[in-house]
Structures are given as C-alpha cells and as structure tokens.
C-alpha cells in the first residue's frame, strides 16, 4: 500500500522543548524548578538581563543537545556557536534571544513513525540550543488586554528547537511524530513532558504542494492535530473559491479550534542575527563517543527486544514502550518471575486504560513503584507498586480471582487513600474466587436437598430461611459468611 497524499499536504514542525531535567538554567545558576513557585523568585541579574551581566553556558546543555542529536541519528557540528536574535517583546529581558543560527549543533537527523502507509521517515533539518523567554500573563484576552504581567522565572531555561522537513502528510502523522519525538526525549532523560509549557510547537502546512502557512505556538499534541485539520480545511476552501494562499503566520485559538492571521510576510521581523560576542564557540567532537555511551536503549530497539524476549504482541510492546518508565515498570514486574504475556495484558490493556481514564500521567519510577500525577491538577499524585502488580498477576494467573475482580483491585489501588496490597483489597471485598464459589455451591446443594424448607420459606415462613443458612454453614464448615449465605439463598429463590 502506498499513500497517495491526494491533497498534496506537506507538514513541517518546529518544536521547542525545555531541557527541564537540568538543574539550572542555560546561562545562570538559577534553579529550573520554578513550576509551582511565586513569580520572579527564580531569577538573578543574568536571567533578568540586568546591564553588565554576562552569560556562561551550562555544560550539561551541550551534552543534552548532543544526546538528542545522536538519538535522532543526526550530525553533530564540528564547530558551533551562539547568535543573538534581536527583537523587542516584554518577555525578552535583553531585547535579544541567545540562539543558534547558521551552525546549529545538530543537523540532518530523522525519526521513523508509523505513517499512513506503514513506516515513514520524517527528516530532521536541524536542532539547536536557545534560551526560553519569560512568561506573560494577559489581563483579559489578548485582543482586549488591559495590561500584561511578566514572570521571568522561565527566562533562560534551555530550549532545544527542532525543525523537521515538511515530510508529514496528514495531521495524524504530525501527531504521531510528536508522540514519538516526546517519547525519545523522555528516554534520553533530558525532558519531563508533564510540566506545563515543556513542549511548544509551530506547524508549517501547505496543500496541493503550494505555499506554506505557519501556525504558531500550539501547546499540545492534540492541539497540533486540531489546528492542522482546521488549517488544511481552510486552505482547501480558499483555493476552491479561487483565492490564493499567502505566506503568513497564524495563531491557533485553542478554545474555538480555529487559526487566526497574525502577520503577513511583508511585516516580517528583521532579526539582525550576529554572533553572540559574550560566548565562545564550541568544538565538541571529542565528546561524542562518551555521550554515545550514555545513550539508553531507544523506543524502537526496546520494542523489538520486548517482542523477542517476552514473546508479547507488537501492539503490547508499542504500548509498553510508549513511556520509558512504563517499560521499566513492566520489566521490573516480569523480573519477579510472573508471566510476561499476562503481565503485558494487564499493564498495557487494563492498567494504562485506567490511568488515561483518570487523566493520570506517569511521572516517576524508582524500581519499587511507578508514580503518576494528574495532568490538570498537579496536587493529585498517586503511585502503584511493582509488588502490587506482581501479586495481582499471580492471583489472576492462579485462578484465584476473576478478571473483573483484578480490574477492581487496580481501581481500588489507584483511587485509594490508604496504601493497601491487592491481598488486603481482595479480602476486604471478598473477591477471592475460590471462597465465593464454595459458598455458592453449598447454597445450591442446600436448596436441592431441602425441598420442604424451601417451600415453607417461599410460602412465607421466615424461620425456614434460618434453617437453610444453618445447612450452608454446616456444609462449609463455618467458613462462609452467614450474611453472604443468607443473601445468596434469597437471591437464588426470589431472583
């Protein structure tokens, strides 16, 4: 099957990703841990751009950029340096952004995605390092703003800007690319995608192989897909009506799901790039072998290994490797000797589904337990122990609990306020299959053997019920719960 791309759609992405796993900002020692902090508390003279201050580059920034470059199978520049991009905006404290221009640290990479017609290669034009501006809070809407508040806590956080070739042929492919890219970055441990503003995307899109339009600053993968769907429809309709698509920049209004024109090419800024005189150029070719050593097993390789090693399906392997922490969790559970296939089903099919239903994002894994955070409300945290999953899968595999009961155990742990093991929950809720089966059996026997008592009870003699319960207790040697036994008999006789 070859995808024809009937509408001649070309999509290219520019993705800004925060290296929020680094301890400090790009050019100063301010902490990157600002997400729940008061405004302007993670700033210093350098990231505030006070006159007289100078930048000094965080070495880990370069290591991380090389790591990303290698993971994208790109070329690492022999010599690279920083430029100033000059423009005025209130979030930009120096009146320029330190970024890279004609010699980016990474060029010519690629990512393989699951495309419209199977595996599809998306070229990476370049990836470079730059600093994040501060954050603006508009009082009122952008159009009817009364004023703007500025928080420079974000100012100077390291960004990796990655630019792709216009190789994606549908919004779905764009979304898949972003998922894969994020997945790789998380594997590299340079990026926590759960933090607000951690990944921002600009999308270039054209139809019928025509002029491209840029849609700026979309903050979610779902948003990118929606923005592209809208923009493609808009462009097709402009052309259908005999209009022309012009080079322009548009803004995606997340609420309304539409794109709005920001500026045309004629009004384009002149950034007056020149080399940053306060930073020295870099020659980092020597570092490459050592950085390569630190590269983890990447998603595709891990997926193949999972299929091979654990004998699981491609679909399960895909789901399990979609997050490195989930993959690690899975392997830790398997390491305890439980059946990998059963485990894959429970984690990939059930457990992940329950997480998604609760909007819980995987946020940590430490060999003992996997942690989550609510994507909308960071106050809501939770975790699930490796030992819990091992216990649960074991009970299920031994036929002691039903699949319905196992699901209930997972839900109870995810929703529970106190820490409980699966066994505790099974006992509390009486979910053990063997026990309940025994009681049901005893009930059935008792009813069959005591026809007179049954008739009496049905005729209204309540005392006969006590007799029947007593018979069940006798049969089960007192292990059955009398109340449960009574309920089962009533249910059996009265329906």
């Amino acid at each position: 099957m070859v995808y024809e791309n009937p509408d001649g759609i070309r999509i290219g992405l520019e993705i800004h990703v925060q290296l929020n796993k680094l301890k400090t900002k790009m050019f100063c020692g301010c902490s990157t841990d600002y997400h729940n902090a008061a405004p302007n508390t993670h700033t210093c003279p350098i990231c505030l751009g006070l006159p007289g201050t100078l930048p000094v580059l965080n070495k880990k920034v370069v290591e991380a950029a090389i790591k990303v470059g290698l993971a994208l199978e790109g070329e690492i520049a022999e010599e690279t340096q920083f430029h100033r991009k000059n423009y005025f905006y209130p979030d930009l404290p120096k009146g320029f952004q330190v970024t890279q221009y004609d010699f980016p640290i990474v060029s010519k990479g690629k990512i393989v995605i699951e495309g419209e017609d199977g595996e599809h290669v998306v070229g990476i034009t370049r990836a470079h390092m730059e600093e994040d501006p501060g954050k603006l809070v508009h009082l009122g809407s952008i159009e009817k703003s009364k004023g703007v508040l500025i928080d420079y806590n974000r100012s100077g956080i390291t960004l990796i800007e990655t630019v792709t070739e216009p190789d994606m042929r549908s919004p779905k492919e764009a979304r898949r690319f972003l998922d894969k890219f994020r997945n790789i970055l998380e594997y590299l441990d340079v990026f926590d995608g759960n933090l607000e503003g951690a990944m921002r995307v600009d999308a270039n899109v054209s139809v019928y192989w025509g002029t491209r339009v840029e849609v700026k600053n979309i903050s979610s993968h779902k948003g990118v897909e929606r923005a592209l769907l809208y923009e493609i429809m808009r462009q097709k309709n402009v052309i259908r009506r005999g209009g022309k698509i012009t080079l322009e920049t548009r803004h995606f209004d997340e609420g309304r799901g539409v794109t709005i024109s920001l500026r045309t090419k004629e009004e384009a800024e002149d950034y007056r790039y020149f080399r940053e005189p306060d930073l020295m150029p870099m020659r980092v070719t020597d570092w490459i072998p050592a950085v390569r050593e630190t590269l983890p097993e990447l998603p595709d390789a891990k997926r193949s290994r999972f299929i091979e090693q654990y004998g699981i399906t491609d679909m399960h392997a895909r789901a399990l490797t979609s997050k490195i922490m989930l993959a690690d969790f899975y392997e830790s559970v398997c390491a305890q000797g439980v059946d990998p296939k059963t485990t894959a089903t429970w984690i990939a099919d059930v457990f992940l589904g329950e997480l998604n239903y609760r909007d819980l994002a995987i946020s940590s894994f430490d060999e003992k337990k996997i942690g989550f955070i609510h994507t909308k409300d960071p106050e809501i945290e939770n975790s699930f122990k490796v030992s819990d999953m091992v216990e649960l899968v074991t009970f299920f595999a031994e036929g002691k609990i039903s699949d319905r009961a196992a699901v209930e155990v997972i839900r109870s742990i995810l929703d529970g306020k106190e820490e409980k093991t699966p066994l505790q929950i099974i006992e509390e809720k009486g979910l053990l299959k063997a026990e309940s089966d025994l009681v049901s059996m005893a009930v059935e026997e008792t009813i069959a053997e005591n026809e007179a008592a049954v008739q009496d009870y049905l005729a209204g003699t309540e005392k006969s019920l006590n007799f029947l319960v007593g018979q069940v207790m006798k049969k089960t040697k007192g292990t059955a719960d009398a109340k449960t036994a009574r309920e089962l008999i009533v249910k059996e006789l009265r329906g």
Partner: protein
C-alpha cells in the same frame, strides 16, 4: 545613501520613536557617517576570514550547579510598575 523611509524603518526596528523633523536630521548625519564607512569598499576582503573574537578560545562552560536566586522584592525593586510579584506593562499591541 539612506532615505527618510530607511530612518523610519530602522527607528521602528530599534524601537526609537523618530519625529518628522528628527528623521531628516538623523538622515543627514547618518549619511555622512555611512559615506565614511563606505571607504571600506576599496579594500578587497574576499579571501579574508572575519574576526569575531580576538582570542581563539573554545568551550567555556559552567557546571550545572544551582546558585541562589534573588529575592522577589529585590527583583522588583527597580520599578514601580508591578503587581502581585509580577512586572506590569501596558498591553502589547
């Protein structure tokens, strides 16, 4: 030679408001300086590499170690235009 429009354009790029009358004044003075700069044209430099830094140093880095940030009140001490710990400015466009 730069024109009045050029002065207006670079005034906008540099975010410096230039009045009608100043535009002409700047245009004349800027042109006399640019004319002087024009003497560089006579020097052939096709095969000359540009010098960005006089010292040929590479790879200057700092370690990824947290240093103390400034207290919020110090950060905001140099302006009256602030609100709830933020800097406050007029709407952007």
């Amino acid at each position: 030679m730069i024109t009045k429009e050029d002065v207006e354009h670079i005034g906008w790029l540099a975010r410096i408001e230039v009045s009608e009358q100043e535009t002409v004044e700047y245009m004349d003075k800027l042109n006399s300086v640019l004319e002087y700069f024009g003497q560089l044209d006579e020097l052939p430099t096709e095969d000359v590499a540009p010098t960005y830094h006089v010292a040929e140093i590479f790879n200057v880095f700092r370690e990824d170690v947290v240093e103390e940030s400034l207290p919020q009140e110090v950060v905001l001490a140099n302006t009256e235009h602030k609100q709830d710990g933020y800097f406050r400015v007029p709407k952007i466009g």
